[in-house]
Amino acid sequence: MSGTPRVVLVDDHGLFRSGVRAELGRQVEVVGEAEDVQPAIDLISSVQPDVVLLDVHLPGGGGQAVVQAIKPLFPSVRFLALSASDAPEDVIAVIRAGARGYVTKTISTAELADAIKRVAAGDAVFSHRLAGFVLDAFASGGPGSGSDVKPSFDPELDQLTSREREVLRLIAQGYTYKEIARELYISVKTVESHVSSVLRKLQLSSRHQLTRWAAERRLA
């Protein structure tokens, strides 16, 4: 990825959009704004940005509707979800739909710019809260317990490795990738690959706990 990433902002709050645009300044190139699902799909189709900064809550169907519409058409467009509510069902839904990451709206400008660059480069970005959700959803229960198990084609997808768990715990404690790398004596690249692998599992796993966990939070 060379140069500054091209970004589209999708959020129904005009004030928030202009705030983000002003704050991000020259660190990214904001190529468009949209405030609802259909305008967002049209805009993204025409400008094909590197990254879409996507509010989870949109009046016309929620952020995942945008992701679902764009993904098959333009797989190179990457989504970074953004939300103020932190409700797990919204966050997991938009991630399962294909977003590369999730951050809270309270994030600092520098961190947001960093997150956009990471997503543009193909990495995953987890907020501390998403890390908590994922740990919770993948909390160890004996495999095969429960009757609603739909076995994965790949059982690897249903488990987090202990290293991935460690990385998620540190993210949940507010560590940056660099701090995690130092804490665990691994490279930042390795941290990134762990997080990407967690993201893949989160998106592809048919682990029953995840389904039930989401269902309990009105997500089914």
Binding site: R129, G132, L135, D136, F138, A139, G141, R169, Q173, G174
Partner: protein, 446 residues
Amino acid sequence: MMGNVEDPARWEQRYGPWGHWHRGPFWMRRRGHGGPLRRDPDERLAGGVAAGIAAWRGFNVTSVRIVFVLLALIPSGFCVPLYVVGWLLIPAAGEQTSIGHRARSDSRGIALAIGLATMLAFLLFIINVVGNGWIDSYAWPQLVTAAGLVLIWRNATPEEQATLRRLTEPLGSAPNPAARTRWSVVRLSVAAVLVFGGAGWLASAHESLALLRPLGAVLLMIAGIVLVLGPWWLRIARDLVLERQAKVRAEERADISAQVHDSVLQTLALIQRRADDPQKVVWLARMQERELRSWLFEGRAPGEADAAMTFAAGVRQIQQDVEARYGVPVEAVTVGDCELDENLNALLLASREATVNAAKWSGAGVISLFAEVEPDSVSVVVRDRGKGFDPAAVSADRKGLAESVHGRMARRGGTASVVSAEGEGTKVTLQMPRPSAAPARSGGAS
């Protein structure tokens, strides 16, 4: 799902003191603590071996003691040395090494023990020649007992030595003329008659086939022994009770002072810092008053969760309270959830204290509070990127960390560690083990 039987605490509440006998035969109660076998100095009568085994395997203490005594009376007499060996080899709760371990370097003690055992062995040989099979078989194992007691005596902690001294007091003080009142002389003479009469009867009855006579002799001897030793035993039991009460009182005092530090002293410090803002001062004072009242009159510690509350809700409350009071954002993440109990309440209070400390002193713009409920433990990490401090340089009388965090956790069997360096922020990690019986109630796990 949470039936009465599944929840021992609720069960016990409902069925009173019998509640702990609900599973299995009457002498069993809940599961053991699951940890390693440790002697229990808090519940001891002698070495705490019986109490330790009871807590380890979940038996009733009294049942274990009765079994021990019955085994000790069996003619072969192997249980007494077994007890002593247990005393030697099982470390006391809270100690790293067993007495036996320490005794290995006590060469004088070992020499003494061997000497004593040899002497006794010699004596036994003589008795053997005179010939009484019963005494013979019972006495041989006591060589181990005597040698073991010597080693324990020399290597036990001062507290346990005091117990031993009390147990052996009758032997030492009987010839002491000052302690000899008319009543005790009468008592001792009657006892002597009973014991020697019983022993004589036993010796003469040995050849006889009548089974009832030796039984009567044994009863006579037991009566004599009880008469001699009874008063001392009573006093020992009373002393032990007093000692335990004192310990409980000391722990209560520590809890109260931690409480006062957490609430009143914290608020006073805040008031001093906000002295230029009368409204804020009044608000702080009101809030503190409310807290103190609810603690004094309703028995609820400030910040202590309602009974119905879960652990995650408790963490969220810490987040809200600290944000409201100190104006520092707290990023709280909880993984999993479970019912609260005494231990987890202590963990919450310690977490609150750590979070408040971070809000007050670190100067960090945001504090991260991470809590995770796992099947066998609950951990909390409080972290800030503030100015940090040198943990070694904190004076011991600073209550915050030492008492409210470390003390609180240690009293409940948990651990606390603080990692901090000047300029690099602080990380407090708290961990509290969970009784394995309670299932984790995680968001997604079954």
